[in-house]
């Protein structure tokens, strides 16, 4: 429980009011309909204050920048992709997400992960009212009956039925451009293996953000956790029964209300037989 203006309120309500404080101070990030990881819009991040007795809401750049990158130019290369010295294209890695399994050990190299320090010492929460993911549906070739190589992609808006705001586990890193001195706090969302609902929505990768209950969210940012405890919380699958996923228009980004439901005639319904 927390107190706001002398009144006992839930932690969720406290967060909402704190968020409103920022919004009324002309922060421009809490009343945005959609924040894309591919734009420069900052995200609202909850961090524990010193001593872990309270928390604050701050703005961060979405896209984790590891300290081995020295300049913005190097960051842009990592994020957008580049050609190496042999002319081979290296795809971009925006580092918007950190897989829960990769927090301490890199999946690719098997060595210490670039997220290691952040997972140990700089855990935070990204505030969200919902997020968008794409479901891939493969049509079949009418003549051959074979599955087409390129899927049709249908956007879904995913939210929690009973919560206006919720917390996604995240990790952050303070980064400094060694040429210009620019400082940026950068953040990556932690992702878990998809639950039965998200397995069907985000069916290309079968991942979902690690959505945490109030209690787990507080533990995530404020407690001195062992690696095992970090991994356990990071792998949390939010119960699919408490989530809702609804299709939205393909041009939802430009809509006044991007979360407005939209029905696609030929899209098969999601089946939740578990």
């Amino acid at each position: 429980m927390c107190y706001y203006n002398g009144q006992k309120v839930s932690r969720e309500e406290f967060i909402r009011l704190m968020a409103l404080e920022k919004a009324t101070k002309n922060y421009d990030f809490l009343n945005k309909g959609v924040i894309s990881g591919f734009t420069d819009t900052p995200v609202a991040v909850v961090v524990a204050t010193e001593g872990n007795t309270n928390f604050d809401i701050v703005q961060m750049e979405w896209g984790f920048i590891p300290n081995y990158l020295n300049t913005r130019e190097e960051v842009n290369r990592m994020r957008k992709g580049y050609k190496d010295t042999n002319g081979k294209y290296i795809p971009g890695q925006p580092q918007l997400n950190a897989k829960s399994e990769n927090l301490f050990v890199s999946e690719r190299s098997g060595r210490r992960s670039m997220f290691y320090d952040a997972a140990k010492n700089r855990r935070c929460l990204v505030l969200s009212s919902g997020y968008f993911d794409w479901r891939h549906v493969y049509r079949t070739n009418k003549k051959t009956g074979e599955k087409l190589k390129t899927p049709d992609k249908y956007p879904y808006y995913v939210s929690l039925r009973e919560h206006e705001y919720f917390y996604m586990a995240a990790i952050w890193n303070p980064w400094t451009d060694k040429e210009t001195g620019e400082m940026a706090n950068t953040v990556a969302l932690v992702t878990a293996v998809a639950n039965p609902l998200m397995k069907q929505v985000h069916n290309s990768k079968e991942r979902m953000p690690t959505i945490l209950s109030d209690e787990l969210a507080w533990r995530w940012i404020s407690e001195d956790l062992s690696e095992q405890e970090v991994l356990e919380i990071a792998a949390t699958q939010y119960p699919y029964q408490e989530m809702s996923a609804c299709t939205v228009a393909s041009d939802f980004l430009g809509k006044l209300d991007p979360t407005e439901p939209f029905t696609y005639e030929n899209l098969p319904a999601i089946e939740l037989v578990v």
Partner: protein
Amino acid sequence: MSQETIDWQANYRGHPIKIGKRQIGKTEVYYVSSSPEKKPLVLTRALKSGGKEFWTSIPQGMQKEAEEIGAIIDKLEK
């Protein structure tokens, strides 16, 4: 009043106040101004643990005023 539109004018403790209602995200907030030189008082409805609604200032610190002016807004909105 920094947030231009005025929805109501009322009297509080013998002084005229101007009240403007805005929407931030899904939340309604009220800007209350008693003088053009002063920053408006921002109010909203919040929920106590247990589910009962109360008026609060944003940021904290003006609870008494929030409750009193909130009661005026409740009447204006009826």
